[in-house]
Symmetry: C2
Subunit: 132 residues, 2 copies
Amino acid sequence: MAGLARHLLAEYYGCIPSILDDQGALERILVGAADAARTTVVRVELHKFAPQGVSGVVILAESHIAIHTWPEHGFASVELYVCGLECEPEAGDAYLREHLEPTHVETRLLTRGCLEKARAYPPRVEPAAGVS
Amino acid sequence: MAGLARHLLAEYYGCIPSILDDQGALERILVGAADAARTTVVRVELHKFAPQGVSGVVILAESHIAIHTWPEHGFASVELYVCGLECEPEAGDAYLREHLEPTHVETRLLTRGCLEKARAYPPRVEPAAGVS
């Protein structure tokens, strides 16, 4: 089944809490992961929550990377969503493991968008303007 | 299994191409979906690609919503990632269906982050500064 994109979901347990609460460090790590995954960064947006935790999103030319952290649990949830065949989300995951240093990791690799289904359910014809 | 977050993945086939290529319309639809899902918008970032397609991310107080569109296929891939029990990602999905008007939809609801595993693999103790 040919897919339009690959979506790698990763759960990182047992991380060091201070890294998971450090917006600057997480920004550098996300950009490094984007490079490792052979993707092109368009924009990086992070937001630090009170009392703790960070959400970060990297918009890529090939889709996005997102992270949400729970420093109190030493847990980070990550996804790498890429639509280019040349991208390597697994390499991005490897980079993240190296820098977040989890003691336990779980990943899932999903296919997003099916070309056969896109053909079976084609784009809808737009209503003609001005026709009542 | 108690989760830290819910991650609703949706594939919308058979949409009207011009909506999927309209950055302004998609921004309004994403913000509407965030409201419908009872989440709080922190920041909205969209990026339009040449020759077509849009990537959009809404950073929420409760995590994020992301969309990637393929107007040429009439296809949009969406995810609603929420970490609050009061959030209703299904209502966000319903809002998106209403406004993107797909002829075929597939959704998956995943649990992200497991509290039992976070306890089994607790946060790592940080190395003491200055100790060699």
